[in-house]
């Protein structure tokens, strides 16, 4: 059975320091008098959730503790893309291209992975990206771009539809620039019709957030259970660009984080029978500045925390060497330094979970891979 990678992108630069809180660092509290998350105190719900005596989860991520304790959730801190840019656009584009400086490369790292392993599946739902445009990381592959599977239908006058579809299928048969994509679209439509995505019932205990992000996760789970040959799925969750009024244990960031965590937990609960076949990885283009700004928020930073979830991982641990938050330990204008190149994590997953040994094809020009042992 194929292994399935679910890639979740926190768009806008999520504040990793308040997501996975270094409560053992006095400098963290000194730099964030208004928005820091208090060190764990049992019985106090507004404090961090203890992980390992140094790090704690933001209280809005309570859903994730169960998965961490089950060793199916690993965290990597001070991780990210070594690219120094603090521009959302550049940082996202570079990361999704697989940190290739050559801007003429139009394919993303997942697109290159899918192209390299094309022989393993001919499913029209081999790769899917939820959103209006295909995630740049998936470019270069025949991935389905869709916002909502229930809307992925050919719409014509209902009484006429069967005949329209028949003629349309004939017109897109044969050779030509669009025949392949056309046939693939028709195959996807036919497959979805049997699936009836509007009728999906998640497993008991799985409650997906009512949002585009939650819907995407639910539909990914549905595709997995329907065994349509899915190998890679991408979804996004936005609103992480918290320059103002970020809040601490409550507020805008906390609410966003609760949605983020609830989605991960819903996947975990809904796909209990599939854990060993699934790897969920989360990323954001960069973290945020250590010191809070005058508007109760944080500005663009550098290093970040990421989550990796799945059965059989060496989870229940925060990976990465901690660079510290003293002034001389910070990167650039005062940001968490990066001690783990995100390519080390993604490369380990690609090679050991997805069975793609050609890491140079995924991340050309990077040859310092150090696997961290997330995948035993």
């Amino acid at each position: 059975m194929d292994h399935i990678l679910i890639c979740l992108f926190q768009r806008g630069g999520a504040d990793g320091l308040n997501m996975v809180v270094p409560h053992g660092e006095a400098a963290y509290y000194a730099a964030r008098p208004a928005i820091a998350i208090a060190a764990p105190r049992p019985g106090s719900p507004a404090t961090a959730i203890e992980l390992d005596g140094f790090f704690g989860l933001h209280p809005a991520l309570g859903d994730l503790k169960e998965i961490y304790d089950a060793r199916q959730l690993a965290i990597v801190h001070a991780c990210g893309s070594p690219d120094a840019t603090r521009s959302h656009f550049d940082a996202q584009a570079n990361l999704e291209r697989g940190l290739i400086s050559d801007h003429s490369e139009t394919r993303g790292w997942l697109g290159r992975h899918l192209a390299a392993t094309a022989g393993t599946s001919d499913s029209p739902f081999r790769a899917i990206g939820f959103g209006a445009l295909l995630q740049p990381s998936l470019r270069g592959s025949a991935a389905v771009a869709v916002r909502d599977l229930t809307q992925f239908t050919l719409r014509a006058k209902p009484t006429d539809l069967p005949r329209i579809r028949a003629a349309h299928g004939e017109i897109y048969r044969g050779e030509g620039l669009l025949a392949g994509a056309g046939q693939q679209t028709l195959a996807a439509l036919a497959l979805l019709e049997k699936l009836n995505p509007g009728q999906y019932k998640p497993a008991d205990g799985a409650r997906y957030p009512e949002s585009p992000y939650g819907l995407a996760l639910q539909q990914i789970a549905q595709l997995i259970k329907a065994d349509v040959g899915l190998q890679v799925a991408c979804a996004d969750i936005g609103d992480w660009d918290t320059h103002v009024n970020q809040g601490g244990s409550e507020g805008e960031f906390a609410a966003n984080l609760a949605e983020f965590g609830a989605g991960l937990h819903a996947l975990y609960a809904d796909l209990a029978a599939y854990h060993s076949r699934i790897t969920v990885v989360t990323m954001s283009e960069f973290g945020r500045r250590l010191t809070e700004n005058g508007g109760g928020g944080t500005d663009h930073g550098h290093g970040n925390a990421m989550f990796v979830m799945g059965g059989g991982l060496a989870g229940g641990k925060v990976y990465g060497s901690w660079p510290g938050l003293q002034a001389e330990q910070l990167d650039g204008p005062g940001d968490l330094a990066i001690t783990t190149d995100i390519r080390d994590i993604l490369g380990e997953i690609a090679q050991k979970r997805l069975g793609n040994p050609d890491l140079d094809g995924l991340f050309p020009g990077y040859n310092a891979f150090q696997f961290r042992g997330l995948v035993p």
């Binding site: 349309h168 050779e175 679209t185």
Partner: protein, 524 residues
């Protein structure tokens, strides 16, 4: 891919397309259309009845416009190829008053940024109306302007000098950029366009040059912001493969310190202002250009630099490549790019002269089909249908579904221009659904009279209907396999039986929708 257009047509079984355009679409059409011959089909019939029409003219029309609208081919036939190119290269000579009347209600298009900020600023109604009008006007222009090449070039430069409408104050400023920067220079000198863009308040905000100040000029705040400098060199001019380094970027950033915009409480809010106190007035050395700017040059430092960049051979190559890619093919012939770059340099960065060379080249005539990007696809469907548009936010939202709303690309590199970036299942399905919606009269605010569009008799056969739809929408036969699928759709088991009024009403939208959704329509 080395397939030429000729090969493509042949391999698609479409060689008959070279035989030309039906007489009833050309300027010398008979008063009432002739019945389409059966069972030989339209293509064979056309060989017998057509004289003097030129397949190269259809190609030219496809490339210089957002697709032919009813009557365009007749107009082109009257002019001939050379005059058509000449006409489109000189938009100022084309009467566009019909479009202007359609835009009469769009009052924000003519307002100054100061007036827009005043009326739609923080105390006012908010910027939604400004964005709505700009996006809707862009679609109306693509569909209805007679200055079609001008509109295509506006799209080219709006992506080359991309500005994302959703970023901060850009919402109030992009209207002026479109009107005062992109449009006046779309077919002019690239040097002038580049200079205008550098001073465009929307660009200054989008690429953060408003934050770019001489280090130490504002106590404890600010300093150099390299964003504009980097994109100016990498995207707007020299290109990423040119040999410049971080020192060059820093020097260019220093050149543009103090290039800013007037704040809402200042005179001429939202327009360009040079702030000498925030400018780094020391001498600058840009090694990649061999350019030394002495101390104290002020705003002229930037003007000198931009002129130099515009006429750099590396910029010439990039602009030439971009234009050849847009009008000839995603991987244009290197020899043509080279000649276009030479023309660009010899003509003092003249866009019109460069385009003229491309349009008159053999490579252009032999170009293989390209995929219409989503905006092009939608505009060409509306044009082919002769649709009447009642502007509606929902119609602009169709472009969102297709993935290419106007000014909606966040990153500075602009929407991907190669077809491959757009060929995916979601995109295909979205195109098909737009085609069926427009044909069935479900397009938001869109009305099209299909009966008036197709020169058909009262009771055509299924084949006659299909051929008429191919002729009116594609101006060429659709290919035998597609044709027989369409005939089966329209005529069922009795393709030769005349369709009565009820049957015609039933199948006409489907035939039109299927033709619009077909690969031949989605390519150009």
């Amino acid at each position: 891919m080395t397939t030429t257009r000729r090969d493509f047509l042949r391999s698609s079984g479409l060689a008959a397309a070279y035989l030309g355009i039906p007489a009833w679409l050309s300027g010398c059409a008979p008063a009432s259309p002739q019945p389409v011959a059966e069972p030989l089909g339209w293509a064979d019939d056309a060989t017998a009845t057509l004289a003097g029409s030129d397949p190269a003219l259809l190609h030219l029309l496809q490339r210089l416009t957002y697709g032919p609208a009813p009557g365009d081919l007749a107009h082109a036939n009257q002019l001939g190829a050379a005059a058509l190119v000449d006409e489109q290269l000189h938009p100022e000579r084309i009467d566009d008053s019909a479009l202007e009347r359609r835009l009469a209600g769009f009052d924000t298009l003519t307002m100054s940024s100061a007036a827009l900020i005043e009326r739609f600023g923080r105390q006012g109604e908010g910027p939604q109306e400004i964005m709505r009008q700009l996006q809707q006007a862009s679609l109306l222009r693509a569909v209805y302007s007679k200055r079609q090449l001008q509109e295509i070039m506006v799209d080219v430069w709006s992506n080359h000098l991309n500005i994302y409408l959703g970023k901060g104050q850009v919402k109030w400023l992009k209207t002026a950029d479109d009107r005062d920067v992109i449009r006046p220079h779309a077919l002019g000198k690239f040097r002038d366009l580049l200079l205008a863009s550098a001073k465009s308040p929307a660009m200054l905000v989008y690429l953060d040059n408003v934050e770019n100040t001489a280090p130490g000029a504002r106590q404890g705040k600010g300093g150099l912001n390299e964003n504009y400098a980097r994109e100016l060199l990498e995207l707007h001019t020299l290109g990423a493969d040119a040999s410049y380094d971080h020192d060059d970027i820093i020097a260019v950033a220093r050149v543009f310190t103090g290039w800013s915009i007037a704040r809402p409480q200042e005179q001429n809010a939202g327009s360009f202002v040079f702030r000498p106190r925030l400018h780094d007035s020391a001498a600058k050395q840009i090694d990649a250009l061999g350019l030394a700017l002495p101390a104290g040059g002020g705003v002229s430092d930037g003007e000198t630099l931009l002129a130099r960049l515009a006429s750099d051979p590396r910029t010439a190559k990039r602009i030439a490549h971009k234009l050849c890619a847009r009008f000839v093919g995603d991987a244009p012939p290197a020899a043509l790019v080279e000649r276009a770059a030479q023309t660009y340099l010899a003509s003092d960065t003249d866009i019109r002269a460069t385009l003229e060379l491309i349009f008159r080249s053999e490579e252009f005539a032999a170009a293989a089909p390209k995929l219409k990007l989503p905006t092009h696809a939608l505009a060409s469907m509306l044009r082919a249908l002769g649709a009447q548009i009642e502007p509606s936010p929902k119609l602009v939202a169709v472009l969102q579904q297709l993935g290419q709303p106007f000014f909606g690309w966040p990153a500075p590199d602009g929407y991907p221009q190669v077809g491959a970036a757009w060929i995916n299942t979601g995109g295909m399905l979205a195109r098909w659904n737009v085609a069926f919606a427009l044909a069935e009269g479900r397009g938001p605010g869109v009305a099209a009279d299909l009966r008036a569009l197709l020169p058909i008799q009262a009771q055509p056969t299924a084949a006659g209907l299909v051929d008429a739809a191919s002729a009116a929408l594609l101006h060429q036969p659709i290919g035998s396999a597609a044709r027989s699928a369409l005939v089966t759709y329209a005529g069922g088991a009795a393709p030769d039986k005349p369709l009565d009024a009820a049957a015609l009403d039933r199948v006409l939208p489907g035939v039109v929708g299927l033709v619009l959704a077909s690969p031949l329509f989605q390519l150009y």
